[in-house]
């Protein structure tokens, strides 16, 4: 938090507060494991702007030097003219002061102006690389990092780098430069006064350190209690329907009160220390002035120092204390940025999906002859999900995968799309090992309707068009019609132009599934994969979609996974999967006649027939 001292502020400090939309709570202070490496990795992003950077630093240097000359000239004006009542030349000196000040301010403004553009463009590059690389990462990466975690990490980390690159680096350079310059100027003017003034420095460092230690401790504690409160409230709000139904509001409120009080206490503690830094350093700035005035006055009476020197020293002193006070903030910000950069580069350095073999073939026309040959796969080494699976789908066949939850049905789909790579065995399409096919090319031939229907927060039209970007509006509507989605879409407030809210919360699960089916229909794939595509729609609607899907499946090899057995009776082949193995295989009637596992599933599901 930034209470401003009564002294001249540092430009970049103000700027940095503004960029954050005002001073915020000082957060956790983090450190990179290998700060130097992270720093080195950032440099290439600045390289295209090296010429501009040279200009920026020249301007900073110039503005620092000019900033030093200003107070010196003022001291001269007092000593050489005002104090000795000499008029001639005072005007000239004042003019010189004006020139020095104007040039200094211009240099300052120019450096800030250019740096803003340089740093933002450099960051654009980091974001570009990060996003570009993210897209090449394998699904395993997204499995091991939850979306929320990844998201908050990436946005916060990029923001931390943003803060540091755009403001703190410049302030650091400017601060160090002006401190060095001031020190030299002060020593040149008067050694004893300088030494006395410098006595404030260790005091300042000690204070900063002292406050920082308690602040860090306080914020750790606060963070912990905030986390607790968040989980209490999250549960209380998302579980509201149950809380209400079971009349537990009172106990929930009690739990909230307790954790809210904890947050209050921790907040008072942490902020009492964190916010103390500014008033205290402000007082130290005053102490600096007092020391110079007292000692300077004594020395002046001894004839060792002029009044002009004292005046200049007070100006210098304020200019010296400011950056000093900021150094610890800047240091922490840069540390945080490097820690952020480290994590961003961790993502960028994560290996991309195993890519196609160099001699990867293009698929021309796909007939849709799919074979699995002794395929084995596991997500974790010791837990095989697919054990020695062999199957064959002839062109145009409908293959249904049946089995209990967790049997490995969805995994089979993930292997065919090469979301994951098989451990051993071979999967072929039209006789070509899919590892020999370019991934993009492979996936382009596969139409997927997934269990988890993901829609984008764009219009309904754009969501369906996602299947084929160049499709006309008419084609989109036709696809929607085929998926039986047209009638509900036309009832939406803006029809096809209705914007979907985040994660499509304004549509029912069934409606979302219909949209994702329309999307797949539009893509016109050679091989169709339906993973529980109709599980959330009611059975009558399902029958209608089923008819659409049957039309769609005609002439394409299709894999259908379904919970409800009614959806898959017409399949050419039913594969009953259990514990990663195909335990039964055949048509619906054949399997029923076998009186095996399928028969058991079927009977229990359709026990209605027994009545």
């Amino acid at each position: 938090m930034a209470d401003q001292p009564t002294t001249q502020p540092n430009a970049s400090e103000i700027r940095s507060q503004m960029m954050r939309g005002g001073p915020g709570r000082p957060g956790k202070i983090e450190k990179a494991r290998d700060p130097r490496r992270a720093l080195v990795r950032l440099i290439p992003y600045l390289k295209p702007y090296s010429a501009l950077l040279v200009v920026v630093f020249t301007f900073i240097l110039a503005s620092t030097i000019l900033g030093l000359i200003g107070p010196y000239l003022m001291g001269q004006a007092i000593d050489k003219f005002i104090d000795v009542k000499k008029i001639s030349g005072l005007g000239t000196l004042a003019l010189w002061m004006l020139v020095v000040f104007i040039l200094g301010n211009l240099c300052d403004a120019a450096s800030g102006w250019i740096m803003a553009s340089v740093s933002q463009n450099a960051l654009k590059g980091v974001r570009h690389d990060l996003f570009g690389h993210l897209q090449t990462l394998a699904l395993t990466f997204f499995d091991s990092n939850t979306a929320g975690e990844l998201m908050s990490r990436l946005t916060n980390d990029i923001d931390a780098i943003n803060q540091a690159v755009s403001q703190n680096v410049v302030s650091l350079v400017a601060s160090l430069l002006s401190m060095a310059g001031i020190l030299i100027a002060m020593f040149l003017m008067n050694v004893w006064l300088t030494l006395a003034a410098l006595a404030v420095v260790p005091l300042m460092l000690w204070f900063t350190n002292f406050v920082a230690r308690y602040t860090r401790k306080g914020f750790r504690e606060l963070q912990k209690h905030l986390g607790e409160m968040t989980s209490v409230t999250e549960e209380a709000i998302s579980g509201q329907r149950v809380i209400k139904a079971f009349r537990r509001n009172d106990s929930v409120i009690e739990a909230f009160r307790i954790s809210n009080q904890d947050v209050y206490k921790a907040g008072v503690y942490a902020n009492s220390f964190a916010l103390l830094l500014m008033p205290l350093t402000n007082q130290l700035g005053n102490l600096f002035v007092i020391t110079i005035a007292g000692l300077g006055g004594w020395l002046a009476l001894k004839g060792l120092v002029t009044i002009g020197t004292i005046a200049a020293f007070i100006s210098y002193g304020r200019a010296f204390v400011n950056p000093l006070r900021q150094l610890s903030n800047i240091y922490n910000a840069i540390q945080g940025a490097l820690a952020g950069a480290e994590r961003v580069f961790e993502v960028i350095d994560t290996k991309s999906e195993i890519d196609e073999a160099p001699e990867a073939a293009l698929l021309d026309t796909v007939h849709g002859h799919v074979t699995f040959d002794h395929v084995q796969f596991s997500y974790t080494p010791d837990k095989p999900i697919i054990k020695d699976m062999t199957l064959e789908a002839k062109p145009g066949e409908i293959i249904a995968l049946v089995g209990p939850t967790g049997a490995g049905k969805t995994t089979i789909v993930n292997l065919l799309t090469r979301f994951y790579e098989i451990d051993s065995g071979q999967i072929c399409i039209d006789g070509t090992d899919i590892r020999q096919i370019k991934k993009d090319d492979l996936r382009r031939r596969l139409g997927l309707v997934l269990q988890d229907t993901f829609l984008f927060s764009t219009s309904v039209m754009d969501n369906i068009r996602y299947g084929r970007l160049e499709a006309t509006d008419e084609e989109v509507i036709e696809a929607a019609r085929m998926a039986d989605a047209d009638h509900f879409i036309s009832k939406l407030p803006q029809g096809y132009q209705t914007m979907l809210s985040e994660r499509a919360s304004n549509l029912s699960q069934g409606q979302r599934q219909m949209l994702s089916i329309a999307r797949a229909i539009l893509a016109d794939p050679s091989i169709l994969i339906l993973d529980e595509a109709t599980s959330s729609v009611d059975t009558r609607t399902e029958v209608r979609i089923q008819n659409a899907l049957l039309r769609l499946m005609k002439g394409r090899t299709s894999f259908v996974i379904a919970h409800r057995l009614s959806t898959i009776r017409d399949a050419d082949q039913l594969l009953v999967v259990k514990d990663g193995e195909i335990v039964e295989k055949g048509t619906h009637q054949q399997l029923l006649d076998q009186h095996g596992f399928y028969h058991h599933l079927y009977v229990s599901q359709f026990k209605g027939e027994q009545i």
């Binding site: 300052d108 149950v242 209050y264 009492s272 005035a293 970007l469 229990s604």
Partner: protein, 582 residues
């Protein structure tokens, strides 16, 4: 502005601390302003008058002031923190209490995520405004006014020459303050869009990969990235010139002071050297607060937006409220539930009603099954019984009493609900089953679990009934969660049981097990079973088919199979022709 002032009432309990904090702040400012004055004395009456005593005395005086100043500053710091944190705590509590009083209609409009943001972030922004107002927010104008007074006091004529300069500076600040607000807002919007693309690509990675849309998404991101960068550069550049502009104004002031003040001092002799030094000092003191004002304008803008969101929650009226003359529902073992011409549409929605003309009677102890398509209004109908929503037409009677005349807590005490979406809480399995009746014994918990077919699998868990349920129950399967939810509902010994499609997400085998357990349980209670599968509703005393918000057919399985075309259609869609084996 108005939004924020509505929240001033939260300051009330802390007004003493707030006033104290402001008094201390004023003292700090006065002392801060005294220092340049005293430095001036050192120069004029000490050095220039060759008086060592004055120098020494003034030095110790300044030292003493500085110590006192520090103490006051710490006091201001602590009180302002206490006020800010206290307001934040009370604000959070008020929001939370309000949320607890919400009915389902309110939740339909405000999603969990939105409420969370209001509770944590928005209350924090308001807190920051209050806290800062007790610190730099007040300190800056005080310092400015104080140093202006002192400038006039030191040298009125010189101070006059500063006025136009100060006016121009103030104008610049005002322009910046007004201009920056919207700029920051659009920057934030661009950032949100950028993050949205990132978010969608992380959450929807399978879709992006499946449709080979990396390039398309790349373009989308690049566009957002470009937009954001461009906007960000503009804001950063504007900000980068503000400070030089202000220091430039300050520097011009200093030059004027040295030159015209110097001339005045030499020619007229009515201005001392010390005064000139003090003047420069004051000038520096005046400009800094101005810069802070830009900052404060920013915080205000953010606080107004946040206060608006907070007020939206605090001002919301719970849709379902107890009538003043509401009574407690008399305990009956098996109540009769009657829907009389019930209609419902969501508040504010204009595109048609969800339910209309529903007339239906569940006799004591009957099992009524509700069958229908997704979106036909089944769940909504069930939500009307516990008054999660109130019907917009007609009425619902329990044992002849309109439920709007029954206190909601008493009504809920008679109803056991197994919702469509199972929600468990963090805590042990036992805690979760006991949720509806915290005072029940372990024996009762086990009995309920056994009845819900949950006892066996619970014993197989690592710690049995003491197994910890992770957030949202991720360590349990859908079927297991559902059985725990059923046990939870059973333990409350409800006289009305509502099962809202509660076996849809379990596989067939488990469903069969649960079904047989429920068969026993529903005996002796009036119960409603919402379902999509025919197999679930076969044994009901009455099957009600809902289609497009209306009752399309009503009767037993056999009756409906003969008379209702819709029922036949549903039956056929689930069983097909091949196995119509009667």
């Amino acid at each position: 502005m108005n939004q924020v002032s509505k929240l001033f009432r939260f300051l009330k309990p802390y007004w003493k601390k707030a006033v104290l904090s402001l008094v201390l702040l004023t003292a700090v400012v006065i002392m801060d302003l005294a220092i340049p004055r005293l430095v001036q004395r050192v120069i004029d009456q000490g050095i220039n008058a060759h008086n060592m005593q004055v120098v020494v005395n003034t030095f110790f005086l300044m030292l003493g002031i500085s110590v006192l100043d520090t103490i006051f500053a710490i006091g201001n710091n602590n009180y302002s923190v206490q006020v800010g944190e206290g307001v934040a705590r009370d604000l959070r509590e008020a929001i939370f209490l309000k949320i607890q009083s919400f009915s389902f209609g309110n939740f339909d409009r405000l999603k969990t995520g939105q409420l969370m943001v209001r509770l944590s972030n928005d209350s924090g922004v308001v807190q920051r405004l209050f806290q800062i107002s007790l610190r730099i927010g007040t300190r800056a104008p005080l310092l400015m006014i104080g140093s202006l007074i002192l400038m006039f006091n030191t040298a009125p004529q010189l101070a006059m020459t500063m006025l136009p300069l100060l006016l121009i500076t103030s104008a610049i600040i005002a322009v910046f303050s007004i201009k920056m607000g919207p700029l920051f807002l659009t920057m934030q919007q661009k950032l949100d869009r950028l993050n949205n693309v990132l978010q969608e690509n992380i959450a929807g990675v399978r879709v992006v990969k499946a449709f080979v849309r990396a390039r398309h998404e790349g373009d989308r991101f690049e566009q957002a990235n470009e937009d954001f960068t461009e906007r960000n550069i503009r804001v950063a550049q504007l900000m980068s010139i503000l400070s030089p502009i202000l220091t430039f104004a300050l520097n011009i002031g200093i030059v004027i002071v040295v030159w015209s003040g110097g001339l005045q001092s030499i020619r007229l002799g009515n201005l001392s050297t010390g005064q000139i030094v003090a003047f420069v000092n004051y000038l520096q003191t005046t400009v800094v607060p101005l810069m802070n004002l830009v900052n404060l304008a920013n915080i205000w803008a953010a606080a107004i937006a946040s206060a608006g969101r907070v007020n939206e929650v605090l001002d919301a009226v719970p849709e379902v409220q107890d009538a003043p003359d509401a009574i407690a529902l008399p305990a009956t073992g098996r109540p009769q539930v009657v829907f009389e011409n019930v209609g419902f549409h969501y508040n504010g929605s204009t595109d048609g009603s969800i339910l209309h003309g529903i007339t239906l009677t569940a006799e004591p102890g009957q099992r009524v099954a509700i069958l229908g398509a997704t979106g036909s209004g089944k769940s909504t109908l069930m939500n009307l019984i516990p008054r999660f929503y109130d019907p917009t037409e007609g009425r619902i009677l329990i044992d002849g009493v309109d439920i709007r005349h029954i206190r909601q807590d008493s009504l809920l005490a008679h109803i056991g609900i197994v919702p469509q979406e199972t929600i468990l809480f963090s805590g042990t399995v036992r805690d979760n089953i006991r949720y509806g009746r915290p005072d029940s014994t372990d024996v009762e918990v086990v009995a309920a679990a056994k009845a819900a077919q949950a006892h066996e699998f619970i014993l197989e868990l690592d710690d049995g009934y003491e197994t910890h349920v992770e957030e949202r129950g991720v360590n349990l399967s859908g079927g297991q969660k559902q059985r725990i939810a059923i046990a939870r509902a059973l333990l409350t010994r409800p006289s009305i049981l509502i099962l809202d499609d509660s076996t849809s997400s379990v596989d067939v085998e488990t469903e069969t097990k649960i079904q047989s357990a429920l068969d026993d349980l529903m005996k002796g209670r009036t119960s409603f079973v919402v379902a999509q599968r025919i197999s679930t509703v076969l044994k009901a005393d009455k099957i009600v088919v809902i289609d497009k918000g209306q009752i399309a057919a009503e009767g037993t399985h056999r009756e409906l199979l003969q008379s209702s075309p819709i029922y036949q259609e549903i039956y056929a869609s689930q069983l097909g022709n091949g196995v119509n084996g009667e």
